[in-house]
């Protein structure tokens, strides 16, 4: 009898359990259940952390809520240079915009300047948001549509209103969307661009924090400053 036979004979004393695969499936189900619970716990922590950070991380007076009655009717389609641009409803950002659009600027130099720069029709959308304080989004959509998966995020302190003067600032790279969200807070009396989103070199989205009391002209002036900065950056 060789070594292998000896080992086989020894192993033959151990009969494998008959229901091994069924127990394995139950074990897998339990493991997946634990993973789901862990994921839910992480999500819950983040969900609790967001409002907490909005309150604790503020460096200025918190302006809560926005007067929905003052916001213009939400629109989902814009026209620029005679081209209709529908906001893609399946995209989160687009839905966000769709729900909180304040107004759309298609007149004047804004859209035209962008279009001239990029040599393609684009729309310029401002939208309000109601997370903690009035938050306006400026979304520039290029005609063929946007792919938000291709977006990269940049923090940008591009324009700030100081004594009715719009100041242009430079851009700063950031790693993550939430970091910008929480790091740049509005200050009373100031308009401050929170972040800029860039898609494949042709599309951009801006999100603005706008202090309570800022009127349409403030936003429009700021938007013009942003567009001017784009022209400067990409020229």
């Amino acid at each position: 009898m060789n070594d292998a036979d000896i080992l086989r004979r020894a192993a033959s004393h151990f009969d494998p359990p008959a229901d091994a695969f069924e127990r394995l499936m139950r074990r897998r189900d339990r493991a997946r259940g634990r993973q789901r619970i862990a994921a839910a716990a992480v999500a819950a922590v983040f969900a609790l952390a967001v409002p907490l950070m909005l309150v604790l991380g503020d460096d200025g007076p918190v302006v809560r809520g926005v007067d929905e009655a003052q916001l213009p009717t939400a629109l989902t389609t814009v026209r620029a240079h005679g081209v209709s641009i529908a906001l893609p409803a399946e995209l989160d950002l687009a839905r966000d915009v769709e729900e909180h659009i304040a107004y759309i600027r298609t007149k004047g130099a804004t859209a035209a300047r962008i279009a001239d720069l990029r040599r393609r029709p684009q729309a310029f959308v401002l939208s309000g948001h109601t997370v903690g304080e009035p938050l306006f989004t400026v979304l520039i959509v290029r005609t063929p549509g946007i792919d938000l998966d291709a977006f990269t995020h940049k923090r940008i302190e591009l324009a700030m209103r100081d004594d009715q003067t719009i100041l242009a600032r430079g851009t700063t790279e950031i790693d993550a969307w939430p970091a910008t969200w929480f790091s740049a807070r509005t200050r009373e009396g100031n308009l401050r661009l929170v972040y800029m989103t860039v898609a494949d070199g042709h599309s951009w989205a801006f999100r603005l924090l706008i202090a309570e009391g800022a009127d349409e002209d403030d936003v429009a002036t700021l938007a013009d400053a942003i567009v001017g900065s784009i022209a400067f950056e990409t020229a």
């Binding site: 000896i6 192993a11 151990f14 091994a20 493991a31």
Partner: protein, 173 residues
Amino acid sequence: MNAIGVTPPLEVGTSRTVPFEVFFAEQHDALFRALCLVTGSRAEADDLSQEAFLRVWERWDRVSRMDHPDGYLFRTAMNLFRRRYRRAQVAAKLQPAPRRTDDFAEVEDLDVAIRALRRLTPQQRAALLLSEWFGYGTDEIAWILGCRATTVRVHISRGRAALRAAPDARGTG
């Protein structure tokens, strides 16, 4: 199939993609029995084999394309065992009055070979089993056990010596 209904791992699973259920059916008994001999505990072997299969199942898309998914399974099981064995050793050291225990002593003491294997370390048992029973080469065992080939050779040599030293091991049993 061999005499005890176990298909040696090296003869299956090479460069073919099979459903996980088939792989499980082919490999479970072999792994379970090998772990019984390595750990000396039927319960421990059952738990380790379940955990090893679970981990392989989670990665089956990748593992099934390996040349030796069975080797990966054994390696996973042995890594799990080594981790538990280390933790058990640490825990034993932390006991104020350490109880001298040997899991292997709890195995049904039905065979002289089991008594002979009891004198080996788990690593030596595993190397001996993988070599003599499953037919793995030294390099493959080294990969599975996560040690050097020279160490594997030493383990196997000592294992063989232990088996031969058992007076009744080569008898009729």
